[in-house]
């Protein structure tokens, strides 16, 4: 793992970007863009769109690094949020057609909780999430994971998972509630 993936280092980079440090900006891009590109590709299902979103996201980072609040979220979470929100806004504007579920993700979810290979246990947070997702029933777990990774809406999830939309809404609502209680207990 790159030494810069460490939160303090990234926080320092974002703080320097906020001051207009161009080298810090390049460094931040170099150490985070490959991960963020993956996040965008999973949702957008298209390399060109993902490139566009990544570009827009990093322009946003340059312009709004000063508004990053280290007490609210880690720099990586902040960056992921920017990329995911832009990707989600993008797909809701266009018709991306039939959405196929990711095979590797589907396999991972069918076999139960994400294993250490898929969900690298980088931190206590990741371990707790892994544990708590594993405690959900398969339906809610799949609905939450596909929504998060691929940006599926309620109706897309209903179609892909072949269940009524009401079931999907219930799975997500109850799943998220359970997840929160489980994660708070793990805190």
């Amino acid at each position: 793992m790159d030494a810069y993936q460490n939160t303090e280092d990234l926080t320092d980079l974002v703080a320097r970007v906020a001051l207009g440090d161009q080298k810090a900006y390049r460094r931040l891009y170099d150490v985070t863009s490959a991960k963020l590109f993956s996040v965008a590709i999973r949702i957008l299902r298209n390399q060109g769109r993902a490139e566009e979103v990544l570009q827009d996201a990093f322009i946003n980072v340059w312009n709004s690094a000063g508004s990053y609040n280290a007490s609210l979220s880690s720099p990586m979470t902040w960056l992921i949020t920017i990329v995911r929100n832009r990707s989600l806004d993008y797909i809701r504007r266009i018709d991306r057609g039939e959405v196929e579920l990711d095979d590797d993700l589907a396999a991972m979810l069918e076999s139960g909780a994400p294993g250490p290979e898929q969900l690298l246990l980088r931190s206590e947070d990741a371990a707790a999430l892994n544990l708590c997702l594993g405690r959900l029933d398969a339906g809610p777990r799949q609905a939450i994971a596909f929504a998060y990774f691929q940006g599926l809406s309620h109706s897309e999830l209903a179609k892909s998972l072949q269940v009524p939309i009401g079931t999907v809404k219930t799975w997500i609502r109850r799943g998220l509630e359970k997840l929160r209680h489980c994660l708070q207990a793990e805190d």
Binding site: F37, E51, S73, M76, R92, I94, A126
Partner: protein
């Protein structure tokens, strides 16, 4: 706010906002609430943190270098000076002028368009002028590769022009528009000269510019990709061109 005090609902909306299943008007409304309610923003940040290990677990994908190259051109403070200086366009332009192959390629296309539209243009051209020139052509080329990108025909009279994209890989993404620019007569910079309507599958579009005279008399034209609605200054220039008369 309608969700004030409803803790479970606030948690659920925050979670579904992060997950992405809160969509459309409900999503936009939630963003407005969040902007006015720091504690709601806090809940969203918590959910972002809770779920982000999922995103961090995805294997990396190499990013093409063009993403960074295009990115810094859109940030004035980072744009490479040789790209941002209008002076450099001239240098490139001289190079382009000397590039016989580029000229030949675009000339063929330009003549093709001109012939195709001759009837329409000549009908608007005073007979006295027909002997000298019927129209003007501007061949936009990429100022780095000198590859032709688009050809524009400007009639001698009137404000209706035709733009044809000639580079197959030039696409106008959703939410973007092509915009025309003219070099300022004095000093650096470009003035906006008109937005290009959506280009159809034929890759050619006929449209009316605010004032075609500025195009005919410009020393240099620019064509750029901008957010829908255009920009006060060009952000992503895809081609530059000089204007030449087409002999009829």
């Amino acid at each position: 706010m309608r969700i004030q005090g409803k803790d479970d609902l606030r948690e659920l909306l925050a979670a579904e906002y992060v997950l992405g299943t809160l969509v459309g008007a409900a999503r936009r409304r939630f963003e407005r609430w969040m902007a006015q309610d720091p504690s709601l923003a806090h809940l969203v940040a918590r959910w972002g943190t809770r779920l982000s290990p999922l995103a961090e677990s995805i294997p990396d994908t190499n990013v093409p270098t063009r993403v960074w190259d295009a990115l810094i051109k859109r940030i004035p403070a980072l744009a490479p000076p040789q790209r941002a200086e209008p002076d450099n366009w001239w240098k490139n332009l001289n190079f382009w002028r000397a590039s016989a192959t580029a000229m030949a390629a675009v000339a063929v296309i330009a003549v093709g368009i001109a012939l195709h539209d001759q009837e329409r243009f000549t009908s608007r051209t005073p007979q006295t002028a027909a002997a000298t020139s019927a129209a003007f052509v501007a061949t936009f080329s990429d100022d780095k590769t000198h590859r032709p990108v688009a050809v524009m025909i400007i009639p001698e009279n009137g404000n209706e022009v035709i733009l044809q994209l000639v580079a197959a890989d030039v696409v106008v993404p959703e939410g973007k528009t092509l915009e025309l620019w003219t070099a300022k007569a004095q000093g650096n910079g470009m003035d906006p000269a008109g937005l290009v309507p959506t280009i159809s599958t034929s890759r050619a579009v006929r449209f009316v510019v605010p004032d075609a005279r500025v195009l005919r008399h410009a020393t240099l034209l620019g064509l750029s990709l901008e957010p829908a609605g255009g920009s006060p200054a060009p952000t992503d220039v895809i081609g530059v061109a000089t204007v030449s008369p087409i002999a009829s």
